[in-house]
């Protein structure tokens, strides 16, 4: 499954959930699939999407918070998984699109090919951990996980392909912030 297909699977099922995006192609593919007010596109601060998501999840316990993360991002801030496991926010769904490379910088390998991120998530006390490869399987898992209490960790194995020349997020960072805050207030 291509990452953009996996992203589309989730996006098609979303309603008012807040989604924090890891930097790089994840922002661009999600922006291209469906640009939503409820999307926070983190264009810098690599690694911190899960921390931002955790801050939101603790502060807004009645709102579903989804993190669109990447393997490079998770590996850069593994400590965040332990904080999520310490605090156990029920409203948090952590999805990691894992292509085993740093895709935005020329496909250099990450170490998620040898390190089992799903085992780390289990050790970090996520209430449910899934690892999926196929699109239909992912669709079923995500449908179920959107209804369940978390924190849930889904590792989605995706291919390295991405579209050449895919659009960057065209909003300014301040606009991204303003829209996101107004979506929270709605």
């Amino acid at each position: 499954m291509k990452r953009k297909e996996a992203i589309k699977v989730v996006v098609d099922l979303l309603e008012k959930e807040l989604v924090v995006h890891a930097n790089g192609m994840i922002c661009r593919e999600s922006f291209t699939a469906c640009d939503r007010m409820e999307n926070f596109y983190m264009v810098g601060s690599m690694g911190l999407a899960s921390s931002i998501g955790l801050g939101l999840a603790i502060s807004l316990p009645h709102r579903k918070i989804i993190i669109f993360d990447g393997d490079g991002n998770v590996l850069m801030n593994l400590g965040s998984l332990t904080m999520i496991g310490d605090l156990l926010p029920k409203n948090l769904l952590h999805i990691v699109f894992d292509n085993e490379v740093y895709g935005s910088t020329g496909n250099q390998r990450t170490i998620s090919g040898t390190i089992k991120l799903e085992e780390i998530a289990k050790s970090a006390r996520y209430s449910r951990v899934e690892k999926v490869k196929e699109k239909d399987e992912f669709k079923n898992v995500i449908k179920d996980c959107l209804k369940c209490d978390g924190p849930i960790f889904i590792l989605v194995k995706v291919s390295r392909e991405s579209d050449e020349g895919i659009a960057r997020v065209s909003h300014t960072t301040e606009t991204i912030k303003r829209r996101f805050i107004s979506a929270i207030k709605d």
Binding site: V20, F40, M42, V43, G44, S45, M46, G47, L48, A49, S50, S51, I52, G53, L54, G55, L56, A57, I58, S59, L60, N77, G79, S80, T82, M83, D86, L87, T173, E174, I176, K177, F180, I181, I184, K185
Partner: protein
């Protein structure tokens, strides 16, 4: 009322209601108060940049966040401050303990201790050096700067002030 109590009360009076960070001996009384305070939340973070990220999430949700850290953690946090807070205009109050002040400390604190104010100036963060007789004034000034510029502001805390 101890200086730490005065400081925590001052922060709460100004509406700060979400605390996270990594400890330092200089900040231990403040963190102790925050952890036992039923009105607020203190999240122990594993790293200072993660704390900056969590605080950013809290800010987006409508909270007024504070990050506590030693100046050693400022190094870890620079990219988060530069490529998250400063470009999205996410204000956060950062309480930074100033180890290595005037070169009187353990060797690991001397380099960062010497450059702490310069580092903040270079990255463009306003800072206030806390003095024991002007705690409320320092918090007021930090809040004013954060509201005007919509960026993080640091309060530097030397040993023996709180």
């Amino acid at each position: 009322m101890s200086k730490a109590e005065e400081f925590v009360c001052g922060l709460k009076e100004k509406g700060f209601n979400f605390f996270t960070g990594v400890p330092c001996t200089i900040l231990k009384d403040i963190i102790l108060l925050l952890e036992s305070d039923p009105d607020t939340i203190y999240i122990p973070s594993v790293r200072e940049d993660a704390a900056v990220g969590i605080a950013a999430g809290a800010y987006l949700s409508g909270k007024s966040p504070v990050v506590l850290m030693q100046n050693s953690g400022l190094g870890y946090s620079l990219n988060a401050i530069a490529s998250l807070n400063l470009i999205y205009k996410i204000p956060t109050l950062i309480i930074v303990s100033w180890r290595g002040f005037e070169g009187k400390d353990a060797p690991e604190h001397l380099v960062m201790g010497k450059i702490t104010p310069r580092l903040l100036e270079t990255i463009g963060l306003p800072y206030i050096i806390l003095t024991p007789d002007k705690i409320a004034k320092a918090i007021d000034e930090a809040v004013r700067e954060m509201e005007n510029k919509m960026i993080p502001v640091a309060i530097l805390v030397r040993k023996g002030i709180i």
